[in-house]
Each structure stands twice: as structure tokens, then as C-alpha cells.
Symmetry: C2
Subunit: 201 residues, 2 copies
DNA sequence: GGGTTTCTGTACCGACCGGTTAGGATCGTG
DNA sequence: CACGATCCTAACCGGTCGGTACAGAAACCC
């Protein structure tokens, strides 16, 4: 929206929406939905509450936008992993990407999709549901990719795509928790390798 | 404390401390530390704020007590698993216990130790740190148990107890997240079995 | 029953929560 | 330059947060 208009009427906003969203994403990533107060968010974004409301609507919509940005930014490894030629390589890229992103030097340890709102009070329910859907959706996409692998003969005929996807995502979520525990990249990659070692009989 | 005194002076409290703590534990389990308000907690406990403060000190100490109760109650499978005769059986019991506890019919899905405060704001930091220590401590105890297994000849001489413990706990934490996602007991146990299939070369 | 001790309920505290409103200041356009 | 749209600052909204002060009720000892 607003992109089609060549000449904008009224005073243009003074801050960069993308930059502000990036900052908000990091705060949500670090503190979770309920743990991130409006003061935390707007402080990091460098704008006032009013500007934030004008640009994003409210906290919940800001979180939704931040989650989208996370998906297309730090978590874009997931989409890229789906394009790997074999199911084995998909799984490897998925876990390697989760290890790298949850231990990004410049960012908070862990995964926004996991620690954003695992448990929450009444007010955090929308964010909670959003993330449950996000995680289950990711699992579903892996399942579909594995189903394709069966069709292509890459995976054996009797392989169960849903089971395999569930397993890989379980490990990926575990890695996210361990990253939040402070484990290092090498340690996490080691666990990922172990999980992949018995990949199919 | 208080056990040595046979006759108590003053008015005895009208509620059962253990029962109240049990209720508080379930609220923390379901909503997390920050997501559980004092109103939620005291409402579920069936007492007033004043009584809660008199009996437990404050919210943080209530959480600590609740976590202890969780460790000795729903999560007691972990301590029992350590007494299994072989490392393989320890690992199996650990994952089976985590699957069962995170999908307890009467309780919230997931694990209090994981979703209690994975990410938090400033006020939730003590609880956050408490749980990081809880999870790392659990991993350490598994490592020690596996080290013993190496000493006893149960695990090969070149096995790395720390790596193995890290791997098992990573899967256990992943199971907790998946349980919070709504996955069922059979699905989780299936992933646990897959993780155990490549247990040692 | 008197005295002491501790519990319980109510009412209240300042701080902060997410969210809104009013009023200028500031920009692009005609 | 005037207009219209949007900006920013700042004060403010009711509600809730975790945490207390106080007074009365209830149970024990003597």
C-alpha cells in the first residue's frame, strides 16, 4: 500500500520504517511479546509511541510485521533450504541454518518464533497463537517438501514425510532452546549432526 | 522449618500450603512467569494476595518454590531416569518421561522449565536466569551419569558424555516445544524414538 | 477468660501497562 | 503563500502491575 502513489501528499515521515521494524524485531526476539513493553520498543526504534501507532497500528500488528520480517530475514534460511536438491540436504540446511541464526553474533540468542511467546498471559494470546501457527506452518512446509522427495524417488516409497518433518523440526526447536541457554555454535552444530546421523535406516 | 515445633502458637493458616503451591505451579506452567499475574495466581490458589505474601514472600520466591515442586513432582522422571542400569536406558527413560509429562492429560502442554521464561522483560530476569540454570543443571546431571557409564564400561571408552547429554537434552527441549504446539503423545514419542535410533554408532 | 500471636480481608500504594487525544510544527502541493 | 495532510511532543486515559498498611477475627497458651 502507498507504493503506487508517485507524489505523496502531506508531510513525509522522518524515520525509516524498515529500520524501525528491524529494531522492534530485535526487541521482540530478545524479550518476547509480553516482555517487550511499548517503552522498550519505541526506545529501540527511536520514535515515539504516537509515531509507532500511526505507522503500525498497535503492538500486536507491530509484532506480526516483525515476525514477517524475521521470516524473510534471519529465518530465510528455511525457505532456501527447501530448494536443496535432496531431502537429506534439505534437512542438513535446515538444521545448519537454525544453528547459525540462533547464535547470530549481532543478535539475541535463540529463535523469535520459539521464544516470542511460548507461554503467555491473557494479553499475549494473539501472539502466542500466531507463533504456534508459525511453527506448525514451518513443519508443514517441510512435510510437503519431503512428500515431493518421495514422489521424485529421492526418499524411499515407504518413508513417512510427516514423521520425518516432525523429527527435524523437533530437533530445530530444541536447538533454539539450547541457544537461549547460552550454548555455542559448535556445540549446537554437533547436536544437529548427531540428529542427522541416523537419518533414515 | 517449623517442623520441630510441636504446638504452634497463634492462629493456624486456613489453607493447605502444598495445595496452594500446586495450583500456583500449574498457573506458572501454563502462562509463564511474567504471564501469570498475582490475580491469576491467588485466584487459582484460592487465597488473597496478603496470604500469599505471608506464606511465600513474593512472586519470585513463589516461582522458585513452584519450580522445586515441579522438579520433585511432574519432572521427577528425570531423577528416576538416572537410576536406570545402562546409559541407553537412561536416555530412553528421559525422553519417554519428557513426552509423558509435556502431554499430561490434566496439565498444561509443555514443560514449565522450558516455557516458564524463555524470553522475558526486565522484571522476569530472575525467573529467566533461574530456568537457564535449571536446564543446564539437568544437562549436567545427565552428563555425569553418562560419565559414570563410561567408567563402568557401559559406554565405550571414547564416548563423550557431554556431547551425548547435550544431544539428548536438545531433543527433550524440542519435545517440550512441540508439545506446546499441540502435538500428541504418540507423535512426540515417535520423534523421541527416531532420536534414539542413532544412539551411538 | 485474658493475653498473645498470627492469620485474613479490604483498601490502598506508586509505577507502569497499552492506547489515545490535542496542538503545534513541518512538509509537499496548488 | 495558503491549504491540506502528516508529522512530533506531551499530557493524559482507565486498567493492571507487584507489593503493603491496617484492622479485625480466630486460635493457641496460661
Amino acid at each position: 500500500m502507498g507504493v503506487s502513489r508517485s507524489t505523496v501528499i502531506g508531510r513525509p515521515r522522518e524515520f525509516d520504517v524498515d529500520e524501525a521494524l528491524e529494531c522492534a524485531m530485535r526487541v521482540f526476539w530478545e524479550r518476547g511479546y509480553e516482555g517487550a513493553s511499548l517503552a522498550d520498543l519505541t526506545g529501540a526504534m527511536g520514535i515515539t509511541k504516537t509515531s509507532m501507532y500511526a505507522a503500525f497500528g498497535n503492538k500486536e500488528q507491530l509484532f506480526r510485521k516483525a515476525l514477517e520480517r524475521y521470516t524473510e530475514g534471519p529465518a530465510s534460511y528455511a525457505a532456501r533450504a527447501m530448494e536443496e536438491p535432496t531431502a537429506r540436504q534439505v534437512a542438513e540446511a535446515l538444521l545448519r541454518g537454525s544453528v547459525r541464526t540462533t547464535t547470530l553474533p549481532g543478535g539475541p540468542p535463540g529463535c523469535l518464533g520459539v521464544q516470542g511467546a511460548l507461554a503467555s498471559g491473557e494479553g499475549g494470546r494473539p501472539a502466542h497463537d500466531m507463533l504456534v501457527a508459525w511453527r506448525n506452518d514451518a513443519t508443514l512446509r517441510v512435510e510437503e517438501r519431503f512428500r515431493r522427495a518421495v514422489d521424485e524417488g529421492d526418499l524411499p516409497e515407504d518413508a513417512d514425510p510427516r514423521r520425518l518433518a516432525r523429527y527435524i523440526m523437533t530437533v530445530a526447536f530444541g536447538i533454539a532452546v539450547q541457544a537461549a541457554n547460552g550454548l555455542g555454535r559448535d556445540e549446537l552444530q554437533d547436536s544437529a549432526d548427531m540428529a542427522l546421523r541416523n537419518w533414515l535406516p
